[in-house]
Symmetry: C2
Subunit: 376 residues, 2 copies
């Protein structure tokens, strides 16, 4: 999507590959929204570190990064000794997998690359096939998100006010994003609408990443405290809620997503406001039988007890870009925190699940499982 | 309530009067929770500035401060000329009223002091009566909060987990607070319970003031992101919600309170969790006929776009007290915000209203209006 740097607007992807230099190129997301910078990982170890240290985050984005990282490691091999090459590829695979051990996308992505490599007869062929497969993985991610946009665009009517939570935007994928894809498609179709971005405490991905994306794209938006959506719904100022999902249960239609998503769904239900979840097929879990079996990660207390941002010596005006990055302790210094990272929204609160293959009622996913890629 | 300073625990009130020096003594709330300091206002202009600049905040606390400020200004008068004295008192009254022009408590408090002064025959008598009336106002505030505690304590059972939002604690009154009063009473009765403090973005009064109060009092508590309460309710970890109110409509039982209160009420309803609002009688509005007529203040965008706290060079450990105070910009620098300060919770979501005179269903307030101080 678009990013404007020093007055020049250009289209970017979150992850790309520089074949000439054998570099994985990533938007350095830890500096956003205050600084935009492309980071080049020069070898697979740097790429693994970028995944581990969250230079890049988001399901699709880390999947594509791992796929490129595997190709990068394979391409760095010099010579034609198949056994040595295979050992190198194994090391690369293990290193990249260990960078985010609980994530499923890097594994799926790298398995696709490895399968493709298996069709090569020589080291050189396998190196070529690895990169081609990584590119294909990244392009498919883009196509899936674009398809979500085409499916979801019909939900956005002129003059609508849309609430989002967290960031399921293009920064979390290779391009377009999931929850944001219908917005970008609606903008492309010339529709006018307004987006409220939930701040999304404690990590503030809505206030930082989603707001940055929408600002770069020129989409009208305002950030709100997570506390404010209920009042805006009472005031008739929200017409639609659009969120992403980390894991959706194919058997029940339950949706695990960033903490606070469930609250927005409960509010939307009370106000009769449509609540949609946009997902790529890869995040559907066809095995788990109950949402309560989803483990909810308890994250560090620091996130709740303070905030990250840039220091602002001058509190008004635009002179905030050049501030020094810092962590501020907000809370009482002798208090602790609870910090569940995710919650689970039951199917009865969800109007529809937007997938690349169509929009489904949450409880219809299982019936359409063949269409949706279930492969028992 | 208790505050421990350099290892010594002492009971404090939010506002007191030093008759010997004619000083109003206030807890400097802008430095909390990171620094505890008592500020002495040496004359009525300093007292007005303390109200205006929010050294002191909260309905009961600013009421008592204004009452003491009026007595302070009256007592500073030298001589016995009644006309000059009355002019001086008028100046003091106007100055203190202008410090928070929309607040109703300072006006009510100062009117009580003026009425008492009217019974004096000389300047000296009126000066004496002014201070006595101010003391009476402050003591009544304490008694009302203590009575709320006695009423509400029966709701707290051993082992309960209680959710609070914002700060309706003793810092907002002279002592005990409203939403916190049942907690303090339960502690005094030897009950064991755990409190979850909603952070209460954007101004974080739960993470700063309520958490500080509970920590000082030795009550077990944890701060949570405003997003987390829904998940904790799903997990069966919240048994009761206790909040305060800025304005409660006597005719409908609707409750205006800090933004986010309504959301917690909607969640509590879905989970069948009792939702109680603790109020002093002075905050009941007997005139307004509909909650939607309550004007909702739109507050500065800065509050949503960033955070205040102390800088922490070392992110772990306890070395956070001595950090420098700062404002951090968290959000995307080119985005704006909506910032409604309050919301209105309808009667159907409220289990009961805890008043000094008893606990009532919200729709019963009107029927009990004589008991509740309605004076048409």
């Amino acid at each position: 999507m678009n990013v404007t740097v020093r007055g020049k607007t250009r289209a970017y992807r979150t992850v790309t590959f520089d074949a000439a230099h054998n570099h994985v190129r990533l938007i350095e997301q830890r500096l956003l929204p205050h600084t935009f910078k492309i980071e080049a990982s020069r070898n697979f170890r740097e790429t693994a570190a970028a995944i581990r240290d969250m230079v890049v985050r988001g399901a699709g984005a880390i999947g594509a990064t791992a796929a490129y990282g595997l190709a990068q490691g394979a391409r760095a091999f010099r010579g034609s000794d198949q056994r040595k090459f295979s050992r190198q590829v194994e090391t690369v695979y293990t290193t990249l997998k260990a960078a985010r051990p609980t994530a499923v996308d890097p594994v799926n992505a790298m398995n696709a690359v490895r399968r493709a490599m298996g069709r090569g007869q020589s080291v050189a062929q396998q190196q070529t096939l690895a990169l081609a497969a990584a590119e294909e993985f990244a392009n498919e991610d883009v196509q899936h998100c674009a398809a979500i946009g085409r499916q979801g665009v019909k939900l956005i009517r002129n003059g609508m006010k849309v609430l989002t939570h967290c960031n399921a935007g293009w920064l979390a994928f290779v391009d377009f994003g999931t929850a944001t894809a219908p917005l970008y498609a609606a903008q492309a179709a010339g529709k006018r609408f307004h987006v409220f971005c939930d701040e999304t405490r404690p990590r503030s991905q809505g206030a930082t990443l989603t707001a940055w994306e929408l600002a770069q794209q020129g989409i009208a938006h305002q950030i709100i405290a997570d506390n404010a959506a209920g009042h805006l719904m009472q005031a008739g100022e929200i017409d639609l809620v659009l969120v992403g999902s980390d894991r959706t249960l194919g058997r029940t239609g339950e949706v695990a997503n960033k903490i606070g998503t469930y609250t927005k769904a409960v509010l939307a239900k009370r106000h009769g406001i449509p609540f949609y979840v946009a997902i790529p097929l890869s995040t559907i879990d066809w095995n788990l039988r109950r949402g309560r079996e989803i483990p909810i990660e308890e994250r560090p207390e620091d996130e709740v007890l303070g905030a990250w941002g840039v220091l602002q010596t001058q509190r008004t005006g635009a002179g905030v870009r050049n501030g020094k990055r810092a962590y501020l302790r907000v809370a009482n210094p002798t208090s602790g925190a609870r910090n569940p990272g995710f919650d689970v929204t039951p199917a009865d609160l969800i109007t529809g699940i937007i997938t690349p293959a169509g929009i489904f009622k949450p409880r219809e996913l299982w019936r359409h499982r063949r269409t949706l890629g279930f492969n028992p």
